[in-house]
């Protein structure tokens, strides 16, 4: 990657500091809007993350970082603003909608006010959290137990004759995570749907600043249990980047294999769950069965059904023996045949297709505006996949370049994307098993020295969508801030948008077709 090439994406006369594939440069607070609009609209970059850091200890005040990415080139252009005296900054939300929740989060957790933001209600932190305690500021001790305040939360209101509200959750009947949904309905039709999340807020961002390094990796696996491997992989990649650690080839291939096993297990589970939510019991139980087969393969290979403890800084901990390799190839053959039979039956069921098609439609423009990624975006025809756009591990070596999409943006679209990705994942794993290079499976990374005063960004395509990690280091080379962003954080508003126009009994199906993480959103 030449410096000149990166320069072409920067605004004129900008001197950027370049670290690896990241170019970052300060922008005066008053100009950030123009710079962001230029990058987003004229240069057509993607806004991946907006986050803040508290650097008041070194006299630099707060900094707000706007991470833009160049798909296919794997370059990040990161303008940042510095807030020394003021605690306010101009909001990007009126011009770039996907900044909406990022800025709300900065407001809630750092106490910095985005001027011009339409919605400054707290996000994630709840009624009992005091208004003047900002947990991600450095002077907030992580052990602080704030006083209970009972500030009421204002839900959006729909008024009119015959409109009534249905509160659902946070505790649900099934074994799922907690979240509150407020429906405003006219008869059975949904007028407005507002999700209120944050019930599983665990203070992960704060803990990621405090825990010892190896524990940080373990903690990243717990951000969203079903994406354990993808999260730890994104975290490790960013750290490897910061520590200039060369990961052995074999480890990169193994990471791809494990990641695709994770994708397979979750896609099987979801394909089944979508069918069971329509009441199509046959398909439902087959999905659960196929998922279990993959979970058992995971356990056989790694002793962990959820692939935990696999990723370490510098590689992986579990290798695959030639015998296991043969067994896995055989299993995959069987699974492919098994799965095809189930899908043939499902695709021939009129009653099932009738429930899936046209339900919970998301328009492509909407998905783009919200910065959605993963299945939710692919089902509206957006061809974006981190495995292709920001190739990591061994995906480019394996020649993976096909992104599965569907045009309609409905539940059926999200169902189909999963089915296509299952076949693609199986092919990738077979490919890995054939091309697996020999060698060590991890670099000796006992004494890691991270680059100082800089940061790294890593994107991984988890099964749900793009998992983004930004890790900042201080002048001593210690990690000063970790900003993980699960795809759920950007995709949740889409669930709210998919509701209106549908009837209440279809909502569980719509929600399941996204199957977003509560824990990953709440951190």
């Amino acid at each position: 990657m030449t410096t000149e090439h990166i320069q072409s994406y920067l605004p004129k006369n900008t001197k950027a500091e370049i670290s690896g594939n990241i170019a970052f440069f300060p922008v005066p607070t008053s100009l950030i809007k123009e710079v962001a609009i230029e990058l987003y609209q004229a240069k057509n970059l993607k806004l991946k993350l907006i986050t803040a850091t508290d650097q008041r200890e070194t006299g630099e005040g707060f900094k707000i970082w706007y991470v833009f990415s160049v798909p296919k080139e794997h370059i990040f252009i990161v303008p940042f603003i510095q807030l020394k005296d003021s605690q306010e900054f101009p909001s990007l939300t009126p011009v770039i909608h996907s900044a909406y929740n990022h800025e709300r989060k900065i407001h809630t957790f750092f106490g910095l006010t985005p001027n011009g933001h339409p919605d400054l209600r707290p996000i994630i932190l709840h009624e009992n959290w005091p208004n003047n305690a900002f947990p991600l500021r450095k002077d907030f001790n992580w052990k602080t137990k704030p006083a209970k305040t009972h500030t009421p939360y204002q839900f959006q209101k729909v008024e009119g004759e015959g409109i009534y509200e249905i509160p659902v959750g946070p505790i649900h009947a099934g074994i799922i995570e907690p979240g509150h949904f407020r429906f405003s309905v006219a008869g059975e039709e949904i007028m407005l749907l507002e999700a209120r999340l944050g019930f599983v807020h665990k203070g992960i961002e704060k803990l990621l600043e405090i825990l010892p390094l190896t524990d940080k990796v373990r903690l990243s696996e717990k951000i969203s249990g079903d994406s354990s491997l993808s999260h730890s992989m994104a975290f490790c990649q960013a750290l490897e980047n910061l520590g200039d650690i060369m990961v052995p080839k074999r480890a990169l291939y193994l990471r791809v294999m494990y990641a695709e096993l994770e994708r397979l297990a979750n896609h099987f589970g979801d394909i089944g769950a979508i069918m069971i939510d329509t009441g199509f019991n046959f398909g439902g139980s087959q999905g659960a069965r196929l998922r279990e087969i993959i979970m058992q393969i995971n356990e056989r290979l790694t002793k962990s059904r959820f692939l935990r403890g696999i990723n370490i800084i510098g590689g992986v901990t579990k290798d695959i023996s030639p015998k296991e390799r043969e067994a896995l190839l055989k299993d995959l053959e069987k699974i492919t045949k098994d799965f095809s039979e189930v899908i043939t039956i499902a695709e021939n069921s009129m009653s099932l297709l009738n429930r899936l098609k046209g339900t919970g439609v998301i328009l492509q423009t909407l998905a783009k505006d919200y910065g959605a990624s993963g299945i939710a975006a692919k089902a509206t025809g957006i061809a974006a996949d981190a495995r292709v756009d920001y190739p990591y591990a061994a995906y480019s070596d394996l020649g993976f370049n096909e992104i599965e999409t569907e045009p309609d943006g409905d539940v059926y679209g999200r169902f189909r994307v999963r089915i296509k990705e299952v076949y693609a994942s199986i092919d990738i794993i077979k490919n890995v098993l054939q091309k697996l290079p020999k060698g060590p499976i991890n670099a000796d990374a006992h004494h890691i020295a991270l680059k100082k005063n800089t940061f790294a960004i890593s994107i991984v395509e988890g099964w749900r969508g793009q998992i983004v990690y930004a890790i900042f280091t201080d002048s001593l080379g210690n990690i000063s801030r970790v900003a993980p962003c699960d795809p759920s954080f950007l995709n949740w508003p889409l669930v709210g948008e998919a509701g209106p126009g549908n009837v209440v009994p279809d909502f569980p199906l719509i929600n399941k077709s996204f199957n977003l993480s509560y824990s990953g959103n709440d951190l």
């Binding site: 009947a173 099934g174 059975e188 009441g279 046959f282 009653s351 009738n354 009994p505």
Partner: protein
Amino acid sequence: MIITIVIWIIQLLFVPLASPLCIGIIRKIKARFQNRQGASVFQPYFDLWKLLHKDEVISKDASWIFEFAPYIVFTSTLVVGMSIPLVAGFINNNAGDMLVIICTLSIGTFFLALAGIDTGSGFGGFGASREMTMAALAEGGFIFSLLTMAVINNTTNLFMISQHGTVVHSQFFLSTMLAFFGFIIVMLAETARFPFDNPATHLELTMIHEAMILEYSGKKLALMEWASANKLLIFFALGSNLFFPVGIAQTPTFWGLGIGIAALAIKILLFCLAIAILESSVAKFRFFRLPDLLLISFIVNVVAIILIF
């Protein structure tokens, strides 16, 4: 004399005692269709026993309706259970009138819906509203399907209808089949089965029947569950004995009674099998397609009546 006593004992006890078994059998067959082992067919009895020994949690906003509804709902199914032809068609039972049955069942539905609204929870409210939408539309189909049989046999007494053995009246064969088809649709709606409702779901927002009884626990929940099992068996028995009264005892002999019991058991098993197959092979319909289905039932039954003349 003894035979009459035996028959009346069967009339009184058969529905409440056998209904949990029907549920168990349907669940078992469904489990096998899903490659699962499934619980024992007697599990519903254990569940009822368990619930009957549990304490209840009653919302402080609940009124007397919530307290009494389970008894009314359960009793209505008991009364209907003893007023329909089960194994013998010859006994003289004036309670077995078509309209009496339909209205008694409606009382149960009415109180079920009231109890759903009573606690003021969101789920109970929309469960009740959906149930009333369904019940109002199903009523027409239900009345007309039984009316078809009544017109054919010139009587509204269900025992008399079952005694006549309609299927043999070959000129009414088509009418009978159409009425049966309409009846099946109504049965699925009234007993909260596919494609109207999913009795196995945990998703509150999709529920109809389950949403109304969501606030119940312990003994009252047991009565509600038991009542809905009774209702299912009542519809099975009606379907078997009005449209296909083959085997039902026509004379007071033990031999005839034995055949009657065996015939009823076989017919109910066939119903269980049919329901299980249906619920394993189709998805639930969208809520707004359901009225169309009930309307079909109504129209089919009207056609059936016209065809008689």
